[in-house]
Symmetry: C2
Subunit: 167 residues, 2 copies
DNA sequence: AATCGCCATGTTATACTATAACAAACCGAA
DNA sequence: TTCGGTTTGTTATAGTATAACATGGCGATT
């Protein structure tokens, strides 16, 4: 997964990212007979405008600007749908949402979040999951869902003066 | 750490848990020349009344009942102090707080959270951290802080009828 | 093409979580 | 005993999320 997620690569072709995410979303919804309505598509597009997790209330002004109702339920409903379809994930420690780079199949997600540039990338959590499973099974605990959110500094931001890896 | 945290053992001597946590807290604060004031001690005690993470607003009524001011800043200040001293941790995915079973030294924390009984136990995150470090270093990412919160069913709750491991 | 029923959206209100800002009281060190 | 910093009181507000009900649109069936 890592190598598919260009979130920390400052000069990747981000237009391509967005277009690809949106077209994948359309395809998936068509396959699943789910309706990617204009509001839902716009919210997904807004979320993909960069690789920084977005708060629900940050998205509202753009909805209003596009002529939609912009009361909170509107955005939360769209986000709920997008989460159900695996198109976005919520990052609990930030109360924020980010686009999923590989929504084709359900998967455990985990994130590296840069406190310098605010970008986040989705991790391959298979190794983390193995470690967690082992600890859990020692206690007879059956895992249903994992929240793995790591804050730190991406490579670029480590080389910026003034940045330290404090959370 | 696991074997020190009896959180999922239904019949452990919980009075002992609480007393031990409170007396450890007093010792640590004395050593560190920090003031474990009556409010702070009460909040810590309330948090230790069971092994279920508590929301800030759940704690307020007990503060009021004990004759203290119970406006939100009171509880958040106490929680802030307790977190700084490592005596409690915040669980981001629940917006809730739980007592730390080994506050003597700073450490990475992770939790197993049972969706059946609402209890949570602190994990030994060393193996998880190794896995995360490896993934992170492949991207040149420098870790500052990890949020690891796993929801599922504890051993006891798996044997209760009607419980499934859904998050 | 009309109808029916469901899904999506609009709208109002409110719950829940957390912090800002300033005043007053307390406590401990000099 | 006084001074200065920490803790607490108090009021207000910011930020996040959902309940509940009304309205409207869309698509499947006829």
């Amino acid at each position: 997964m890592n190598r598919e997620d260009p979130g920390f690569e400052a000069n990747h072709n981000h237009d391509h990212c967005m277009e690809s995410a949106l077209s994948t979303a359309k395809d998936l919804c068509r396959e699943r007979k789910q309706r990617l309505t204009p509001i839902r598509e716009l919210v997904l597009k807004l979320i993909w405008e960069n690789h920084q997790p977005m708060g629900a209330y940050e998205l509202l002004p753009a909805l209003a600007a596009a002529g939609f109702n912009s009361a909170p339920p509107t955005i939360y409903r769209a986000l709920e749908f997008l989460q159900e379809q695996g198109l976005v994930h919520r990052i609990a420690s930030l109360n924020a949402f980010i686009g999923c780079p590989h929504p084709e199949s359900p998967h455990r997600s985990g994130f590296l979040i840069c406190s310098g540039c605010q970008r986040a990338v989705e991790l391959d959590t298979a190794p983390v999951h193995r470690a967690l499973s082992e600890s859990a099974s020692e206690l007879g605990f059956k895992i249903a869902h994992e929240t793995v959110e790591v804050v730190g500094l991406c490579a670029d931001c480590q080389s910026q003066p003034g940045e330290t890896a404090d959370a």
